[in-house]
Amino acid sequence: MLKSPASNPTAGVHSADTQAKIEASEKTFSLNAKDKYYAWLFLGPSLLILGVFIFYPMFRTLYLSLFLTNTVGKPTVFVGLQNYVNLLTSADYLNSLLVTMVYVLGVTAATIVLGLLLANLASKQLAGIGIFRTLFSATMGVSVSVAAIFWLFIFNPSTGFLALMSTWLHLPVIPWLTNSTWAMIAVIITTVWMNLGFTFLILFGAIQSVPRTLYEAASIEGASSRFQFFHITIPSISPTLFFVSIVTLIEGFKSFGLIDLMTKGGPTNATNMLVYRIYKDAFYSGNFSQASAESLILTVIIALFTLLQFKVLEKRVNY
């Protein structure tokens, strides 16, 4: 009991000491040995997996893109940026870039417009709307290969549904997969169909979360449903809309399975998109160094869009 007043000053000194420590750690954030041990222990597994499957292939790709390689992918001669120069001056590669752009923009625009349309439709309070909500999002459960085969049947020039319809209506049969323009359109249609489930679901969720009273207030003030759609729904879901656009865009750049199953890049390179081209250059032609350079260009393109997404989403969250 008598000691307690005497121990007070020490307590004071001690707490001042602790205070100093806290201040120091706030400034430099240094970890002691034990903390470091735990940090690495927790980071270890994910670092290992990322290292083996992401970082190593990435640096290996960068490395290979600066060399010429033999047919099994071993680097032989260092050529610096020659692979990139070759690519960016090759009409063939620039064509691939162009068709990829056409494809990606077409897919994104159509997916967003259709997704928005369906989501808006499904948000209406109508009888049996639940069935349509399920149907609209159903393509989420369909794999690329199934979708490709399904649409190949529809596009088949002699027995396909579209060909039969055209014949029945006495219209010329569209050469879906054998004409350059139509092949691109066919691939876009198939991709949009595949994307629609996910896009619909996300946009539907966003529309559902717009407070009902906003629409009620607007309808009392005399706004038509068209006006409400463009002046309430669109601005309210604009962050989601932007997110879905970027995701669709990036997925578009990465499109491979569909191309492989439906057109194999043809006819005459009309659908020879970037990823499919990388695959062919590497594993058909054995030109690993060029394929590596193409991969890096693709990475940069996608990284730019991702960056754009981050920047805009940071700023444009409008409320």
Partner: protein, 362 residues
Amino acid sequence: MSITLNDVRKDYDSQTAVLKNVSAKIETGEFFVIVGPSGCGKSTLLRMIAGLTPITAGEIKIDDTVVNDLPPKARKLTMVFQNYALFPFLSVWDNVAFGLKARKLATDDINARVKEALKMVNLTKLAKRKPRELSGGQRQRVALARAVASDAKICLMDEPLSNLDAQLRIKMRQEIYALQRKLGLTLIYVTHDQVEAMTMADHIMVLNDRHVQQIGTPSDIYQNPRNAFVAKFFGTPQINILPAKRSEENSHIVNVSSDLQIVLDEEAPSANLQIGIRPDDMQVKRADGVESNAVVKNTEFLGDETIVYATLNSGSDIHVVLPGKADFRSYEPIRVTANANLMFFDPDGKRIDLSKEAYVHA
């Protein structure tokens, strides 16, 4: 513009008659308050007048036009929502201008009206802000400005003050009242707060249990409640409602157990009654020398008055408001009396009007 409700009824698929037999006449320029406890259908009624919820049967008229099947925008009214329904992505100015733009008014006209409306609610300086940068009271005022700018002569308000704190509520109450008077709006105002109803209304509609309980002026509703529910809903603290029986020996005498004896100048209308006495119409005396009829539970001192909570010997809880400070200890035996403004209800709570005076025999 006046509004007439004629035997309006609402059924939902899952629930029949959430509202029935609702009839009322709301005059031009009137401040009409619909009040009732949660879930009594008051918001539903307002939404039916607005046209946001269809009515099942009956008739709603604006002036002489039946509007049952008219969409909200054709009814030429405005509505202020509980959560204000402001567009979060638009500035204050654009929020107020929204409806005017939707109706494709001329830009000059829109600008003039928005400017005027913002001035009227003192928001001119905040015109460029987004709703999230405003306080609750300011958001409320944006919603009011929107109603003002629309120039409609009927305004509906659905619990507009319930998201504000007590101080601000009193302030906004006065602002809304002043605005209504200034613009000559026919205002229908929904609230669950009896104080808001009493302070602002020209006429009050009390809704409960799917029915209109009473329509009347605030003083009428307070002094002449048509049933026990209305009597209990208005007035703080609540009115005391005590069960009573007609004396078997003398039909002019009504007893609240053996605690209070009420003498009537006429025969008691039924054998079983309920007596309503406002807390400030009762008196309390220390039971010194007189027989006690109640025991004090506790007292609450509020500065200008004291509320005494007590239990009658028969077991009924009562409360009495006494002016100034009153010193009673808990468990102190007291004598409670009353001598004015007694109300009589039948066992179902329906008001019984007596033609002559009644007084408590102390």
